[in-house]
Symmetry: C2
Subunit: 238 residues, 2 copies
């Protein structure tokens, strides 16, 4: 009855196969090794990871649910290409959710949480210094997710996670600045506010940080992104 679990680390040690694949694909998308519009053939992916299409399909379905990939019936899965309208919505939603989350995180963060955040930043910094912009972007997303986790809002944190994932696609499509130096600076300021338990400042910093990101995107109606070749030609506006 009360026999202790024989494999306490099971959830970490033995991830389900489809989780592994989904995680790998997600990481590749976050790091911009897979770019929007790329076709994700089931056989190809299965061959890469040494699993059957059953697994791949489950992984793709999961990614489709968080809108990292789009699945077209009988036509396959593609890395999603958020429209400009979707991009606006994603950042509006982030601007609604994340400042509040940052505030909450500031009031709840422990010393260990602060340390984790600092570690994130230093890794991000290192990646940027090493020229691996994709990895830096991924770590930047993890930073935001970590703040949501610290805030202890599981539900809203889940929403934020999907928004961050989509943000990665949006940045791949619509980023217009060359450098993102402001990023690490903004993150650093955020940590200080959180470390000081200054919720109001953290909230304001997060808000301005997101606005900065938003305004660094090129979301003018004129620059329609190149969607799937054929679909773009047949159906221009979506």
């Amino acid at each position: 009855m009360n026999s202790p679990d024989t494999t306490p680390l099971r959830s970490l040690a033995r991830l389900a196969a489809s989780d592994r694949v989904a995680e790998a694909l997600s990481l590749a998308i976050h790091e911009h090794r897979l770019t929007p519009g790329t076709k994700l053939g089931e056989d190809d992916i299965g061959e890469v990871y040494g699993v059957s299409r059953t697994i791949v399909r489950a992984a793709l379905q999961r990614l489709a649910h968080i809108q990292l990939v789009e699945i077209h019936r009988n036509r396959g899965a593609y890395v999603a290409q958020p429209s400009q309208q979707e991009a606006r919505e994603v950042f509006e939603a982030r601007e609604l959710l994340e400042p509040r989350t940052a505030h909450m995180a500031a009031t709840r963060a422990t010393a260990a949480d602060i340390a984790t955040l600092r570690r994130h930043i230093s890794e991000e910094h290192a990646a940027m210094a090493g020229g691996d912009r994709g990895r830096a972007l991924h770590l930047s997303g993890l930073f935001h997710k970590e703040i949501a986790r610290i805030a202890g809002q599981e539900t809203i944190g889940g929403f934020i996670a999907t928004l961050i994932a989509r943000s990665s696609l949006i940045i791949a499509l619509y980023w217009r600045r060359e450098s993102a130096l402001c990023e690490s600076h903004a993150h650093h300021a955020l940590i200080e506010a959180i470390a000081a338990s200054d919720g109001t400042s953290a909230e304001a910093l997060m808000r301005s940080h997101l606005v900065d990101l938003h305004t660094a995107l090129d979301l003018r109606q004129t620059t329609a992104p190149a969607r799937t070749l054929k679909q773009a030609l047949i159906n221009p506006g979506t």
Copy 2:
């Protein structure tokens, strides 16, 4: 090139099989015909709907993603049982998102939108009068989803949809009043505000409506529902 699609109604006419199953299960959960903790065996469901386990698994995975069901590795899928903490989070999130959405809906609603909302209400009223409380609850959820749709915020609307789904489970577990008469009244007032394009009122009405729902739940720490799988199974009163 410009050849018209031979099957323009395809997307409506031929829903993917897993979508049908997921929709059916979702409806059953929303209508409280399936209650939290119920085991969802793959073979059983497949037999009911005349599809293979492949389809059922895809459907269950989708429902797991919106947290309507919980999937335990090697142990199967069960209708989810949100904890009291999760319940609080869900309603806090709704109180954050929906008032704003109602405001937006009020500024954008067309005559057709208003008509749709009124139709929803009358159906809900009819279901309640007919004693079908489950169906009334489902329609109540649809009402909220419709408002999000009218607001034109696809992204936030998606979040709200999942929150509404989870709310259905929460109500099944923690509802403490016998009647929900306030419901239809609150919805009626909301429609009037939206029809009058009175965003501020709509926002306030939505907020108080959600607070009413929230406070009508019994979320005291003491009444722990049968959380663990084993306890749920031992308890024969499924």
